[in-house]
């Protein structure tokens, strides 16, 4: 499995595109800007390009090939209908600044998706434009800042549990807040007492993940929210794990003020090897007035209108500004809406139930061979957390992870959350079959046994992947980020 780089395969004068002939010189005004020669970029004809990328693709593992039991990352099946729909010319081939009369269908997609997100979360409003989960977090925190500004307050602390995703503190800092950490209780949940102690006039709010990254439901979220609200703060909920409760629980009923929704996690838009994401943020009535531009509203005439800079004066003057050039991730909206309509209110509920059922099945069939620190805290939600405790001397979570590759699986999420040493966070998702889970469980159990028995061959895993373990230290020490020739 070797594939040369395009710089080794191609040539600047090779081309996989034909053009209609043009025989006019550039306009005179352009002459002083012209480049001396064509860019030094390798070209390939179509047969060569198709082969290059097809061959490269085969060095990837993917959901279409097997499970990704990635806790908190939720890699589920991507329905092909979604791809078909997103490519309808009426969606794929419309410009973001076309006259609004010519894009009513696109605006209606945004409106329908927004309506579903509001209904499913029990919130007042949704900001659709954030481009990814972390961007949604930022949007939520900026809404909080804007609300505080409107109240004339300058609270500058955000409380974040130890078990939070790295994006939570990073986003809080990016939004200009100071981050204070909240410990976890021994049963894997937020320490409510410790949190309450920190509340005060400097606290803008808390960021809580629910279900949390230990795979547990934060049963006291409503209590926390009440306390935060009483102290003058807002509750941000990290919605990365919303897929565990979609259709079963509405965050709005728990006192949440803002929550982003990763459309790829809960609503199956493709991960695409790392993006693009989409992170709409649902907002409580308290934060809704501050949602950024642009957004859609339905007018008295039945038409759908964009609210942008020019018409924000008409009752939307508190909008905190603009986060992106256009309307957000339309291509993801069409896919997510297609997924939602396919499942319906009943199917989405089934999604959450099957996701939780699958995770508990893994938890209960593996807890005898791998310690599950919070297994006694009750059922898990959509992911099961194990630790490396009890492996033989010198064996760690990494060995289990790389061993899974040789068994034909993607590793689970490792060393996260930070509250458990050598954490292994396993999320099967609802689109894995029982037979597939049984195969995974058998592999995981076998690896655990081998790591306990001190099987040295695990240290050099993977053996059957396109590459053996890669030297990440060398990569970082002397970064080679572009082809050197």
């Amino acid at each position: 499995l070797e594939e040369a780089l395009i710089f080794e395969l191609g040539a600047k004068d090779k081309c996989g595109v034909d053009f209609e002939a043009v025989d006019r010189a550039p306009a005179s005004g352009l002459s002083k800007f012209l480049r001396k020669s064509a860019p030094d970029l390798p070209g390939l004809t179509e047969p060569e390009a198709v082969r290059h990328y097809t061959r490269l693709s085969r060095q990837n593992y993917a959901i279409d090939l097997g499970p990704f039991p990635l806790g908190s990352c939720t890699m589920k099946h991507n329905p092909r209908l979604n791809e078909t729909v997103a490519r309808l010319p009426g969606f794929a081939d419309v410009h973001p600044m076309q006259p609004q009369t010519t894009v009513q269908g696109a605006l209606e997609v945004i409106e329908q998706l927004a309506d579903w997100l509001i209904a499913l979360t029990g919130m007042a409003s949704v900001a659709m434009s954030p481009k990814a989960g972390a961007h949604g977090e930022l949007c939520g925190l900026l809404c909080i800042r804007a609300a505080l500004d409107a109240r004339g307050e300058t609270r500058d602390v955000v409380l974040v549990p130890e078990s939070a995703h790295g994006t939570n503190p990073a986003t809080a800092a990016f939004a200009g807040f100071k981050v204070q950490s909240i410990p976890a209780t021994p049963d894997g949940r937020v320490d409510v007492a410790a949190l309450k102690e920190k509340l005060g006039p400097n606290v803008a709010g808390v960021m809580i993940t629910n279900p949390n990254t230990c795979g547990l439901f934060e049963s006291e979220l409503k209590t926390i929210a009440d306390a935060v609200h009483a102290a003058g703060g807002y509750v941000y909920c990290d919605g990365a794990n919303f897929n565990a409760i979609v259709g079963k629980v509405r965050p709005g009923d728990l006192g949440v003020d803002a929550m982003h929704i990763n459309l790829h996690k809960t609503f199956s838009t493709p991960h695409g090897g790392g993006g693009p994401g989409a992170g709409p943020v649902v907002l409580s009535a308290a934060l809704a007035p501050f949602a950024p531009l642009p957004f859609v509203t339905r007018g008295a005439d039945g038409g759908i209108h964009l609210v942008e800079e020019e018409n924000r004066g008409e009752g939307h003057s508190q909008a905190f500004g603009r986060m992106v050039a256009f309307h957000g991730q339309m291509g993801m909206f069409t896919r997510a809406l297609t997924y939602i309509l396919s499942h319906g209110a009943d199917g989405l509920r089934q999604v959450a139930e099957d996701a939780v059922l699958n995770a508990n099945y893994v938890l209960r069939t593996c807890e005898d061979v791998l310690p599950a620190p919070f297994a006694k805290s009750g059922p898990c939600m959509h992911e099961a957390l194990f630790s490396e405790a009890g492996l033989a001397e010198g064996f760690s979570t990494l060995d289990i992870a790389k061993g899974l590759i040789d068994e034909g699986f993607h590793p689970m999420t490792v060393y996260f959350p930070l509250v458990v040493k050598g954490a292994m966070l396993i999320e099967p998702t609802e689109t894995e079959s029982k037979a597939g889970l049984d195969r995974f469980i058998a592999s995981l159990r076998s690896l655990a046994e081998r790591a306990k028995a001190g099987d040295q061959s695990l240290h050099s895993a993977p053996h059957f992947a396109p590459r053996r373990r890669l030297d990440e230290t060398q990569a970082a020490r002397k970064p080679v980020l572009v082809w050197q020739g």
């Binding site: 780089l5 191609g10 081309c15 595109v17 043009v22 550039p26 306009a27 352009l30 001396k36 064509a38 860019p39 970029l41 390798p42 693709s57 085969r58 990837n60 959901i63 279409d64 090939l65 990352c73 729909v85 009426g90 969606f91 009369t101 010519t102 269908g105 696109a106 329908q112 989960g133 790295g166 994006t167 990073a170 800092a173 439901f217 079963k248 629980v249 509405r250 991960h271 695409g272 090897g273 993006g275 693009p276 950024p292 800079e309 020019e310 986060m323 992106v324 050039a325 256009f326 339309m330 499942h343 939780v356 805290s377 079959s433 396109p466 590459r467 990440e472 990569a475 980020l481 572009v482």
Partner: protein, 456 residues
């Protein structure tokens, strides 16, 4: 449900293994009062693939797609012909449904593509290095300003009046919260871009000047002169490219002295999609590498000495560094970057130059034809594939009236800059290789009918 593999028998068996009486037992930690007892009311139940497809097709049909009418919009999003092989390849499950390549042994496909992408982007922008893509051009622009502040340890950015107004809004919105100082120059209807004003605004406190190239009115700033002025004051030049196809014809910003070059990559491989997902490009000087935001892919070797690729310098990133990260960004625009890279590989350097030549030639044809209409004048001295026309009437009205005649006739500057004055009659029009001479003629005919009353 066609997407859920568990059968009722599977569920029963699994509950037995778990030792739960029902699936509701698994939700026991959810307070009773927060548990919904059935599907959320008022929403429809699941639907067949055929029914959903019909519903979505009906919505799509309510839009006037760009391909079904003469189309002349640009302003930061460009309609180009994307070869069929691009979409075919990005739909391969191994690309489409792959995870972020944190496990490099089984993600070399995505990683090699990102490494190739970074190299292509750096060469295209004329920079030493580039990252693996960001959300879009506007957010990349803001990230570049933050990066310049980290590099220069200064906090004031000067924005050219030729910067896309949405980009400016994003920057001002974010800066409002971070406390960075933004000095935004006004946008005026001059034949030349505001280079002089930009240069005049640079002072010792300036971390960077942000200049779009070509600018949002289609004019082309003299980056070399601005770079010189900026560097003289210890500031960086951040060049913004919203139409990368232009770089097939005009010199790369990095070559002209830009320190950081950001761009919107949508033109290559991605399509219009009503504004997203797109992809942000970011290239810079090598010495800034540890101040870069976003994902980076680097070359290394595996345990057997074979060349391989990994995500690297992640100590800058949120999942390692948490609140001390260079950015909170967690994703890139992976699939869009793949599409961009494939399209650019199909073009190659000479092909990109040819494509740019066709774009410019079509724009020339468009400008020549439209300015033959009495009262229509070209603003720009120079332009690539879009230019600003001055009409004898309010351009917003003209755009609306053209739409009624199924002509998508450009973007009025007053839609782009609603708060600015004096731009009412300015219309930004764009042509690409997808613009036919028939399209131009249809546009001109209808525009003439609107402006001078000739019956259409």
């Amino acid at each position: 449900m066609r997407y859920l593999p568990l059968t009722p028998a599977d569920r029963a068996e699994m509950l037995g293994t778990i030792g739960a009486a029902s699936v509701d037992d698994l939700f026991a930690d959810v307070p009773e009062e927060a548990r919904l007892s059935g599907p959320i009311e008022g929403l429809p139940m699941h639907a067949s693939e055929m029914a959903v497809e019909r519903h979505m097709t009906k919505l799509a049909a309510k839009n006037l797609s760009a391909g079904s009418a003469p189309f002349f919009l640009g302003a930061g999003a460009y309609r180009h012909h994307v070869p069929a092989s691009v979409d075919h390849l990005i739909q391969r499950g191994e690309f489409l449904t792959a995870y972020t390549p944190y496990q490099p042994e089984i993600a070399q496909g995505t990683l090699q593509v990102l490494f190739e992408f970074q190299t292509q982007v750096a060469r295209l922008l004329g920079t030493d290095i580039a990252n693996a893509s960001m959300y879009d051009g506007s957010t990349a622009c803001w990230e570049a300003i933050l990066m310049a502040a980290r590099v220069t340890r200064k906090g004031k950015a000067v924005l050219s009046g030729g910067l896309h107004p949405h980009y400016g809004e994003v920057v001002r919105t974010m800066a409002k919260f971070t406390g960075d100082e933004i000095h935004s120059l006004a946008t005026g209807l001059t034949a030349e871009p505001d280079d002089a004003a930009v240069i005049g605004a640079i002072d010792e406190a300036t971390s960077c000047v942000v200049v779009q190239y070509p600018d949002v009115l289609g004019r082309i700033p003299d980056l070399a002169a601005i770079a010189e002025a900026a560097h003289a004051k210890g500031a960086l030049l951040v060049a913004v490219v919203t139409e990368p196809v232009a770089l097939g014809l005009i010199e790369a910003p990095g070559t002209l002295g830009a320190d950081i070059v950001v761009g919107e990559g949508q033109s290559l491989g991605v399509g219009l999609q009503f504004g997203g997902p797109y992809l942000g490009l970011l290239g810079c000087r090598e010495k800034f590498v540890r101040q870069m935001p976003g994902r980076l892919c680097g070359q290394t070797v595996d345990a057997e000495g074979k060349r391989g690729f990994v995500l690297t310098l992640s100590t800058r990133e949120q999942h390692i560094r948490r609140e001390k990260a260079t950015s909170n960004i967690c994703t890139n625009s992976g699939l869009c970057a793949l599409a961009f890279s494939i399209h650019l590989t199909l073009l190659g350097g000479e092909g990109l130059a040819q494509l740019a030549g066709v774009n410019h030639a079509r724009a020339q044809a468009m400008v020549e034809r439209l300015t033959r209409i009495p009262g229509v004048e070209l603003l720009n001295h120079a332009y690539f594939n879009e230019a600003t026309l001055i009409l004898p009437r309010d351009a917003r009205d003209v755009v609306r009236e053209l739409a009624e005649r199924e002509i998508l006739g450009g973007v009025s500057l007053s839609r782009l800059f609603p708060a600015a004055e004096g731009l009412d009659k300015a219309l930004l029009v764009t042509a690409t290789e997808t613009t036919s001479l028939e399209d131009i003629e249809a546009f001109a005919t209808e525009l003439e009918a609107l402006l001078v009353g000739v019956p259409a």
